[in-house]
Amino acid sequence: MSRHGLSLPFSSMLFLFGSTLIGLAAIDAGINLLLILFGLCAGAVLLSAVSGWRGLRHLTVRRMVPDSIVAGRPFEIRYAVRNEGRWAPIRNLHVLDEVDRFSPIGAPEGFLHLLRPGETGFAGVPACARGRGRVRLSAIRLSTSFPFGIFSKSVTIPAEDELIVFPPLARLIGDLESCAGMGEAPGLASTPGRVRGDEEYYGVREYRAGDNPRRIHWRRSARTGQLMIREMSKPRDHQLWCVVDTRTSPDDAGQAERLEQAISAAATAICHALEQGSKVGLMCNGEPLLVLPPGGGRAHQPRLLRELALRAPNHVDPLAHHVQRVAWPARWRGVCLIFAATDGADLRAAARGLSRSIGPTTVLVPGTSAFEGLFAAPQADSEEWPPETMRGSLAARQRPRGRGRSP
């Protein structure tokens, strides 16, 4: 059920106070011109209170969000607002999405200048997530303070939705295969060396920062609504385990930041391995314990990234304990990368256990030379996203969600 609201900012209270003073002065002094000014002020107050208030009840709104959101990468949420009323147009309409307080994105807010009766207006709101996590969109608030800005009238339409912001992808600057010892892994085929020019077309995947822009598949991008690139490498039959130790100390702020870097690096490694045709498994300690067996393909990547996006730091759950508890079948064997915020006895014990159960294991902790040699922070994405030429197609292809309608 929609909720209506009428708010009065402090500046408007001052205006009301001033208007009252003008009225009192006019009556006291018997000055007719002052009385005219008072009439104008009173009229402005009344018009501001009632104008548009009824019109808001006739609005319906639809939210359109992109399929995938990556932290640090601008994206756009669009709102289609329709004025079902027959008479009154709505002016200066604010569209505000209500999100959680700790959401990685700020409350998206759009603006429509004019919405005539029977007209549908689209408000596109650019946004950029600060970090990974879950974004709960609970309701859409439509408000207007037209005219005069004295009162702000609003209607809140429930429209629940959820967005998952994937971890930011780091730049891979080193050779992940050699670092992880993929070629030496038991039971795995060796990776043939890639010579420039001998790449073959393999498929199409989503664009990520750092990809060669020349390989953008424009036709597919326009059709799907997001940038796609041609994938030119050959599939390989590797198995990679990414183990993320989410344990941090509650009193150390630096550990929390390093954990985010580790998760970002894990996501990068997962994406890279999947693009190379490897199968990737994921294990995370914490509540609840997560063990995703190795898998490959397009559908597997968002599942892994989603788990990484939602994984919260834990302060009590050691990794080694879980490594010992999990039964590791032989078909899961491969190479293993452990991403952790800090090095310690528990991590080393877990690494030993994993090397016994899975295969060659590498510990990557932010700040260490091994980590810094492989991953670099993502470049600031200052370029326009999406490109100007694609906005129309994006708008058409965006996934409609959260239909709301006021009763």
């Binding site: 209506h4 009428l6 003008i22 002065a25 006019a26 009556i27 006291d28 002094a29 018997g30 000055i31 007719n32 011109l33 002052l34 009385l35 005219i36 000014l37 008072f38 009439g39 104008l40 009173a42 009229g43 402005a44 009344l46 018009l47 209170a49 009632v50 208030w53 009824r54 601008p74 002016r91 200066n92 604010h94 959680d100 307080r101 700790f102 994105i105 700020g106 807010e109 603006f111 200048h113 004019l114 709101v125 650019p126 946004a127 950029c128 997530a129 303070s145 037209f146 005219p147 005069f148 800005g149 509650p250 929390a256 730091p313 302060h315 600031a380 994405d381 200052s382 326009e384 996203w385």
Partner: protein, 744 residues
Amino acid sequence: MMPFGSSMRTGLVLLALLNMLPALEPDGSWWILVIAVASAILSGLSHRRVRRPDSLRWLVRVAVLASVGYLLYEMFAPQTEQTIYILDLGHFIIFLTCCKFFEMHTHRDMGLIVLMAFLLMIIGAFVSASPLFGVVLVIDITFGLAWLTTFQTRREIDQLVQRRSRELPATRATSYHAELIGGAPPFARSLRATLLLSIALVAFSVICFVAIPRAWGRGILGRMNRFVPASATGFTEEIQLRDAPIVQDETLVMRVRLLRNGKPITGEEAAPYLRGATFDRYRNGRWQRSSAGSAGALPVRSSQRIVPLYPEIDPKSVDAFTIEQQIWLESLGTGALFSMYRPVAIASSDLRRVMPGAADATLHTDDPPRGAVAYQVFSCVSEAVNFGREVPPPRPRTGGIDKIVRAFARGYFNESGEPIGPERHEDLATVICGFLRSGSFQYTLDRGTGPRVTDPMRDFLFDNPRGHCEFFASAMAGLCMSLNIPARVVSGFYGGEYNEVGGFFQFRRKDAHAWVEVYLPGRGWVTFDPSPPSPERRVQGGRGLGHAVSSFVDFLRFKWATLVVAFDTRSRGDLARWFEQWVREAQETREGTGSLLAVLRAFLWGPEMLQRWERILYWLLLVLVAVFAVLAFRVLWILSIMLQEYVMIRGKGDKAVVRKPEARFYDRLLLLLSHKGYVKPRQSTPREFALELARARREFADLPQFTEWFYEVQYGGGTLGRQRWKRLEDFLRRMREDPAFGAR
């Protein structure tokens, strides 16, 4: 981010300059407007050329200081002109606005200029009475309103983009801003869109104007309204010399037919002086009537019988040496009855009682009927015939006359210094009258200066020899009285237009006049008119576009002064009665009496006696009333819905929470959390809230545990052990004492 472009800036500056006019017009300080316009131009040039140079900033600061200094000088420095603080305040605000022209960088700056423009309009409402205020108001609620809504839109967009720019890359925020601004409708469309708003505002304003009763307050703030600069010509029962422009009022006051021995007197034979009131005492620029010497109320009855005003006069003998005046007064506002000197008999079917003034030979009634009045007055032809009622006047009261005026009269008109005998009264009066009509003094309805501290009569004689008939009459009476010659000022009507077809004189309010009567022994009170022929009267005969425009402006000024500025309780009553009478007439006299259609037709057409422009105004009023009715209905409807929702929400309010004593720690916890900025949403359960906080801030990792304890204690019947209490107290203490707690 620059909040507005050059067009918005120009519009704002023009709006501010326009709103300065009503505050500047009363005292004619147009040089301040010149400064304001120059500031606007300079600010525009500097805005385009440079961006916030330090020299400009310092210049603005110096200008603000100079404005403060000028305000103090105006308020406290001794000046010849009377200090009117609200005008000084207006000047100060105008100077501040000029300074602000150079600092229009943010929305706040722009809002301040709008606020100052509004304050100037308030000051204009206090001090102005000219239609310029109305013109500015009309521009404000059309173009100004469109500008204001455009400004509001841009401000909202800027604030929105500013909020979004915290998480967006700078280039994306800029392009988003440009995208939103680019979608704004052009100004012309905004103007059309705000037209309905303007009409609604005018409707509200008119309804407030008419509906709010007057004369409620004690006029504490009304003391600021000391400077009503414009008034209309017309007869008043008081004479106060003020430096205020007077506009020509064309309203018809009365028609007079003059008969001598049954034959009409034409306009070529005489220019009649119709006396209304006399004044013989001067004090502080105001003439007063010391004593009328009334003989008491005289019943006239509602008959055509001629009633002698003095018992010793035989009505049968009056025909021989009197002039008969048949007078139709349009309305009797003050109770004054007009007649030529000296009335001896009266007849009327409209008047109940009259009170003849024995000392000054004027007529009044204490029971003025509403509407038009007709009466006949018989007056003596010759001043010498006084029926034995000639009473020598007392010695003139010269106490209120400025000593410089008295010294001037004695030194200029009586150089010898010898005592002035009665035989010289006529000569001296003639000399003084000639002195004032000699050309040294200019007749004008607008003296063009503000109020002065000096005596107005002295100011007229020595400093500013310009004025209207009241100044001339006052000067002559004052000079005569300074020479101990009995004199008095008379106000009434003079001249008029002679209608040859009807054979009557027609007097309008613009024909109101003041002249002097000097007492000459043996001849009684003799009329002297020191006013030179008025240029305004000469203009009346002009032709051409200029004259037409001038007449129209004059007409507007008059209508504004009478219908708006001087609208009072009596006007409200008259309006209500007029409407009531018209409705009654419409119901009775229209075709198809009694039918709803006839009444509706009459209502839409309006009263038949309306002129064309009045009918247009009537229809405009109907539109406004209709708009107001629709708006009022809509407001009531929406208010009822809002009230209904409010009551519904209140009805579902939280029931009082009964907290167990041991579980009260949770309330303390919530309070401390709210101090940190984490307010528990109403829709969240305590567990959800705690989990959310624990996920977001690692320092709140224990909150879910504490919440479980709260559940156990509040709902499970459990108790908190000593260890738990210790942990809780420790946690609460840390949260209370560590300002950064919860930020990590």
